[in-house]
Structures are given as structure tokens and as C-alpha cells.
Symmetry: C2
Subunit: 364 residues, 2 copies
Amino acid sequence: MKRVPVIVFGVGGVGQALLRQIVNGRLATAVRNQIQFDVVAAADRKSLAWEPEGLSDAQLLGIIEAKQMGLPANPESGRQTRISGERPSNRDILDFAPAAELENVIVVDVTAQAGMEPIIDRALQLGYGVVLANKKALAGPWETAQNYFNHPRIRHESTVGGGQPVIATLRTLLDTNDPIYRIEGQLSGTLGFICGQLDQGVSFSQAVAQAKTNGFTEPDPREDLGGQDVIRKVMILGRMAGWPLEAADIVVESLYPAAMAALSVAEFMRETAVLDEPMRQRVEAAAAEGDVLRYVAELEAGRGTVGLKAIPANSPLANLKYISFRSGRYHDEPLLIGGKGAGVEMTAAGVLGDMIDLVREGQF
Amino acid sequence: MKRVPVIVFGVGGVGQALLRQIVNGRLATAVRNQIQFDVVAAADRKSLAWEPEGLSDAQLLGIIEAKQMGLPANPESGRQTRISGERPSNRDILDFAPAAELENVIVVDVTAQAGMEPIIDRALQLGYGVVLANKKALAGPWETAQNYFNHPRIRHESTVGGGQPVIATLRTLLDTNDPIYRIEGQLSGTLGFICGQLDQGVSFSQAVAQAKTNGFTEPDPREDLGGQDVIRKVMILGRMAGWPLEAADIVVESLYPAAMAALSVAEFMRETAVLDEPMRQRVEAAAAEGDVLRYVAELEAGRGTVGLKAIPANSPLANLKYISFRSGRYHDEPLLIGGKGAGVEMTAAGVLGDMIDLVREGQF
């Protein structure tokens, strides 16, 4: 049995699901994979739970409960060692592990924060494994991000496709020397939902409001509607495929005009109604041709486009969230991964799979 | 750089593609994966090429060329040590490796032969890694086959889905403790082709003849039409999912009547015309309901069916070769892998991916 200390940054939806999966899967992971994951630290922005021997299952479930009640991650009720005073810096959290004589640590980033690069760099310097669900470091400027691609101690399955085996598939194609010619897909569950609503005659503003109410969007829906999240995913896939992309290489269609960028979220939500009529006309024009609108990402030879596209309503791809690869071997029909590519459980499972993979490959 | 000796059983279409991929990808595999695969032996039924230092690229290409001219795999022109007299037994081929002081050998079975179990057992006993594209040992009686599932030194991506990441995906779901409820798919490229022809009004006998002419079928097309190959794939997936299936647990619909089993291949091909009219009626009955016929495998709770099924013509699954999994997490929408799941290049790439995976995981 291999005991593996784990430091988790981020105890939001994905982080909580991950802690729950670690607890619920503890016996199965021990039997099947001969691994025991000891969560030695779980940190959100404001607080830290820390126990060099590994937080107990009761403590981990207590953290989830506390978070779900909107409390910080270090409930008084837990028995974990509290850090006195202020929450230590991320860097200090990392450096506790060697001080506690922990080795072969895996650091998990399930935050949505920018600026985690120094933490990743420090973790790699310490010889740790790194699992990222957070896309921002991988989608940052190439000069920094290039260090994170093909690194033997970094895994990031959950950055694209929400835990479906998209990254693993692309890695296998590349490992077996299959050149990638074209990557295509519907990479946003949120925009997929909105497009589906438009098909059914729902107005754009109502569809956006519904997506926000259902919790499918970021707190500010413009982060989804502007395509920024899709661009990050496209850049990660394209960079893996060998193209040193920058954000400027991707042409993006935003679903709201630049003039609306300065509004508050509440103002924006009220103003979206002005977009209903032009969108209705586009949907109807597509329908007249037997098409539906989908928010599609297409990448080829290091240049890409992200935006609404008319697709025949009866094509298999109109009604499927998917990512597809055309390659040397898959040149006439692409290789396709489809299914529900969203949800915190899948994303957390992708992170757990990466953790097992790192241990199995003995890479750290 | 890790040098890994490889013994290849089978130099048919997949074996030749594998040798070509090893040669063509040698530099890339060295740079990307720090691995050099030394093919120390390549054997077909009648002959053997053998070189303890690894056959040279020229020799490997010579073997492919010789096979394509219909000659045995050990061309006179090669510099490899010839085994004098008769081709040695598979067991003796395996045992040469320790005699030559080779360690960490990978044994590849890309034959279609039954009865390879003793060779797999011996390879495991010697501490070798085993990569199977041949389904027969994994789909044999459970009492024997159970030893081959979840074995840390066996890989078999290419047994289902022709090199698409089907096995890897299922493994990740199981590793992350996601129980499998249902497996479904169109698992035969050959029958997928024939169903597509039927859609277009081609008669059954013409569709079968065309599939045979194109090289999509086994030499005896009844091996495809009887569903045996699909059953093997279903059993492999189901056994991975945790059900100790036997062939009798799968209800299969053969596309030819039992009375035609005794005919010679030539007689069978002539007689298929008698099946045209009943099949035409089924296709038309389905079309009247807006459906198309597809040869679908369905497996749930350890029992399965394999046969023709009417599917709405406008559903995404009617026009896509796919395998899907419903699981604890993918319960409302299944996880789906699709694309061209056939062809010797993909199958060989799946084998090469498995070889890299074994080395990466240090499992042998």
C-alpha cells in the first residue's frame, strides 16, 4: 500500500466533490490500486485545514459540510491543527510538507484563480506531482505555460471536457506519433445549454437567465458568453498538439457587444433583452436552412475560431456535446469523445484519475 | 533512454503496421518517451526472425516487404540469426529471451489464434509485459480468462474499438470508483458497413459481397455475420466492468440461419441471395417508422444482447460508430467514444500505446 500525501487548493464545488470521492472511494482505491491518499491540507481563499498525518475522513466530511454552510474550510468542530492567526500563503502551505518530512506529495489546483504559476513552479521544484483542473496557468502566455506541457509530473485531464478522457486520448495519439491536423468541438456546457434553449424558441435573455439560475454560468455570465473559457480549452488542446498558440491566434465571437462589458452584472442581465431580436433572426435564418446554431471551436494548423455556427439539425454533431480530433490516422472520420462534459463530479473524477495516474507512473 | 526488447507474435496486417510504426516512430518515441523498442523476434505461423540485439530497421522493413509478397517472415536477405530447421515453438521463442539475458521483455500477440493462453501464462511467469490485440484469451472461459483482467502487466486497448481509447476510458471510470450500469455500442466495423449499405437500398447479399471484396470481413464472412466477434468484445468490456460473463450470458442474433453453417465459403456466398428478401422487408418496415437497422450490442447487469435493432434515423447514434458507458456519474447522458474504429493502423497504434504505457508505469 502506497500512502500519498495530497495538498488541495480550492474547496469549491469541484474540491468538495474530490474530497467526497477520496473518502467514499478509500477502500476501493486501496484494493484496486494499492494507494491511500492522505489529504494533508485543504485550503480555500480564507482558511486552511492541515494535518501532517492526513485529515481524517470525518474531518474531510466536516470541511465539505462547513463549506456547504458557507463557512470557511477549517471548522472549529474539526480536530485538525489550526494555523494560528492569518491563513498562511500558498507558498508557505507547500513548504510545510518538507518541514513535516512528507515526500511524494501531490498538489491539486481546483481553484479558478489566476496567478498560480509560482505555486506550480515551487511544487515542481520540490519534486511534487501537480494535478490541475484550473486552466489559467496552461492557457497563459506561452513563454510561461510551455514549461507545463509534457512535464512528466503534471496532469490536467479535467481542464478540457470536464473529466471525459479528452486529454488522455490526445496524449495517446501524440505518443503513438499521430500528427494532429484539426481539433473541433462544443467545449462549453453552458453555451450548449443556451443553444439548446434557442432551438426551442426561448429568447436569448431568458436562456441566459435560466442558465445563471441553474448555476451553469460563472457568477458573471459574460465570462461564458464572451468565449474566454472556450478559448482557454482550445489553447490547451492546441498547445498539446504542438502549436505554440497565443490567445491572439484564436478569433472569437462574443455573444454580447463590447459596449456591454462595462455594465454591472445586474445591469447586464437586464440589458440582454436588447440582444433577443437579432439572435431570434439568426436562429430563424438557420432553421429555414434546416440548421441549428451551435457554439463551436475549430482549430487547425495553429489558428482557430470560436463562435456560433450553423450545423444541419439532423447531423449527429448537432445533438451531442463532443470534441473531435482529425489526425494522420483519423483523417477521413475523426475520433470523437462525447457525452455530458460538465459537472463537478466528473471534473473531480478526472482529478482523482490524474492522481492515480501520477502514482501509477511513479513520476514523482 | 530505456531499451525495451519486444517479441511480436503475428505478422499479418496489424503486425506489419506495428513494425512500420515502430520504425517510423523511432526518433519521436525516443525524444518524447525516452524509449527504444528493440524487436528481438517477429514470428508468424511458419517462420521466425530473431536477433537478440534487436532486428535492424532495414530488417523490419524487409519482413514487411517479404510478408506483403506472401513470403515467410524471415527473408534470406536479413542478417538476423536464423533458427535452423523447423520454426521453434512459441514457448521456445519466449524462452530464448532469458537465455539471451534479455530482461523487461514485452510480448505482443497480434495473431487471431485461439490457444495462446499457455504463452501468455509463460510470459507472465517470466515477468514479461503482455500486450494483446487478439481477443480470444480474454473472451475464453472465465475460469482461465479471469487471470488476465486487472493484471498489472497485461494491456489490451486494441481488443475493443480498434485502438480508440475504449479500454482506457473504462479503466479510468473503474479506477475512480464509478460503477458501470450499461454498455452499448456498434462494435463491428464490418456490420456497420453492411447496415449502411442496406440503408441505401443495396441487397444483403451484395452488401456482404462488397464487404468481403473490400477486405472488411474475415476470410469466412460468417465469423462477422454470426456476431461471434462482437460477443468477444462485449465479454471483454463486461468482464472489465465486474461481471464474470460467459458466452452463454449473451443472446446473439446471427444474420444467417444455422442451416447455412455447414456450407463452404463459396457456397455460402452464393446462397446469401435467399436472405435478401426477408432483410429487405425488415429494412423497409424500419424505414416506414423513420428508423434504420443497426447491429447493436447492449449489456446490463451481466446479461447482454447482440443483434439488429431499429434506431431513429435522425438520432446521433444512427450515423456514428460508437461505444457508450452509463455509470454512476454518467447516468443521464452516457459517456461516448466514437469514430472510425477499424483498420490495421489504428489497431497497431493501440498496441504501441499499450507498450508505451507498460514502460511508463514501470510495470514489468
